[in-house]
Symmetry: C2
Subunit: 344 residues, 2 copies
DNA sequence: CTACCCGGGACGTTATATGTCCAACTTAAC
DNA sequence: GTTAAGTTGGACATATAACGTCCCGGGTAG
């Protein structure tokens, strides 16, 4: 059933809306029966005429009786409604969660893929695919795409495919090296994405953890400067989110820094910034490229992260995320985000 | 998944057609890619414009690529198509079988409910329900409904429910007693149907197996005569089908008659007529009421019978059935009818 | 009896889907 | 290089379905 719904979501997206509408109508009739069109239509937020159309249809399907005293469900209607209850819980699950998260996190759009990254390995691929599709939808109006590192981003790269618009794109790393393993470094991923999309790309090789002086002189280097200016003018930023401590360890951070993160209660990390539970920046990795201030609402920010274990990290980052953000996550993280919110 | 499809069949009937259409389009694109609109539209029997509408939609869903060299499936399209194949086998199963049987048996309409009467007890109830719904669809233009006996008919009676039109109906037994147990006798069922539909009814009590003389005098009796004339003018006839030998035994037929049936290779029985494999009448129970000749095309005949074991009987009767017949059966019988037909 | 709510008929309006035709472009063969 | 046959995509008139709006007659409760 899961796959059937999944397929239908793609193949007949608005039919599910119709199904939901009719489900609501049946439900309300059951509760309010016998009931007339007028009172029903206000309860359902439908105009009287459209409600009438639906009711005529339901009557033709023998699901409702229409008497002069009002409408009631037929036995068959009750039966169908019973079966629908179970189905709807599943159908509406994802849609509803997407809307809930949209409200909760105050962002433009939330996309949820079903499953749990932590448990089922191919769910991360689904995340990547969803992200690739989402990118595609508006990359004809964008030119420069900045991406970060991470295993999730690597999957995004895997899912990209070329089309006419994609060839005009330029991929750049969002920031200079921040200590990932080569495979998941931003530079590597940028290259892969560009290759998959048949686009151009620029890389930015800078040593990790620069000291203040070198940092300044580096930025004056013409070649570096040009790449940096491209990065700064990126139209779209794709990035993952990590668990703060896990990231810090993976990056071989110094003991002092680890302490700083611990003291600051850092839980989330995104492109080199560490956040605490309230979304406050605890620490930032000093490197070139996009800074938090650069995330203006004109830029499209796509945040990709899934898995129950990352829910806290996602929440921490999202507290301060611009509303132009699109969050792509999985069911497990979404559930955790929604539930966790009521028990802080 | 089964229940989901069942619900959708009721709640969004035309949606299955759309799904099938899009499935076909995807399938053809996969086979013929890269392919243009024109050649695709002729292959699919769609006008170019409608095909274009569908393709635009599929493109917006990222399922097909459109290049100037033609259309191809995207990776996602291939994936969806894969999942669809499995689903479609189930979705189209019933629809397709209905059409196949319509052709095979040369009747106006075939309705199949899923399951097997012989194995799952509630499938017979589903048959009854389906029959009741079908009757409802046109009983506002009919007045007299003749019904036969049998356990299936008893379930039809159970599923009836009253409405405005039903109160004007009159139920009559199709023929005089032909030896059923009381519970499943036509008279009993007539009474029950009338009660369920809040309609009127007439019964016809005649002794079984009349001899020629008494038969003649019986028909002259005024009260009987009136009922018989009502029966003859019935607008709708609802009847079941039985296995010939099983019916004969249940009716305590004489050894001579059993021999006659055996010799004639009788396999099916319907309202007192016994048929052989080719649809030839082997024997008819002599009684008053509707005779085979009365089944004119103006009358709506609804035949209800299910279960794998009855497939042969159904086929034998259907050979001579008028095209105004509506066959209501179950999946098991339908499969047997279709498959059995290729291995005679 | 009256006032209210009921379904359903009628009709003009609007949105959507479809039929039809053409222009610009790509590709492949010659 | 040129032609021919294929492709998509734009434009526009038209048919069709959905919808908004109004009203009527019939039940029903107060």
């Amino acid at each position: 059933m899961r796959t059937l719904l999944e397929v239908q979501r793609k193949l007949l997206p608005d039919f599910l809306l119709v199904m939901q509408k009719r489900y609501d109508i049946l439900r309300y009739i059951k509760m309010m029966q016998p009931v007339g069109r007028r009172s029903l239509s206000v309860s359902l937020n439908l105009t009287e005429r459209t409600l009438r159309g639906e009711v005529d249809f339901l009557k033709s399907q023998n699901l409702v009786n229409i008497f002069s005293s009002g409408m009631t469900l037929t036995d068959e209607g009750i039966e169908i409604l019973d079966k629908l209850e179970g189905i709807m819980r599943e159908v509406m699950g994802i849609d509803i969660m997407e809307k809930q998260l949209q409200d909760l996190l105050q962002v433009d759009e939330v996309i949820i893929v079903s499953g749990n990254c932590d448990e089922t390995p191919w769910v991360k691929k689904e995340l990547g695919k969803a992200c690739a599709n989402r990118m595609k939808r508006e990359w004809n109006s964008k030119n420069i795409i900045a991406v970060t590192g991470g295993s999730t981003m690597a999957e995004v790269a895997n899912s990209l495919s070329p089309d006419e618009a994609s060839r005009k794109l330029t991929f750049v790393p969002a920031r200079g090296g921040i200590g990932e393993a080569v495979k998941n470094q931003a530079n590597t991923i940028v290259e892969k994405m560009a290759q998959k999309a048949q686009a151009s790309y620029r890389v930015l090789y800078v040593p990790d953890q620069l000291s203040g002086e070198v940092y300044a002189s580096f930025q004056k280097e013409p070649a570096i400067k040009e790449v940096i200016s491209q990065i700064k003018s990126a139209d779209m930023i794709i990035h993952g989110i990590g668990d703060a401590m896990a990231m810090a360890e993976r990056r071989n951070s110094s003991p002092e820094m680890l302490k700083k993160l611990l003291d600051g209660n850092a839980v989330g990390e995104a492109f080199g910034y560490y956040y605490d539970e309230n979304g406050k920046v605890v620490h930032k990795v000093l490197t070139v490229g996009i800074q938090l201030d650069d995330l203006s609402p004109e830029k499209r920010v796509i945040t990709v992260a899934g898995g129950k274990t990352k829910a806290k990290a996602i929440r921490s980052y999202m507290k301060g995320a611009p509303s132009s953000t699109v969050l792509i996550t999985d069911e497990a993280a979404a559930q955790e985000l929604i539930q966790g919110n009521y028990t802080p």
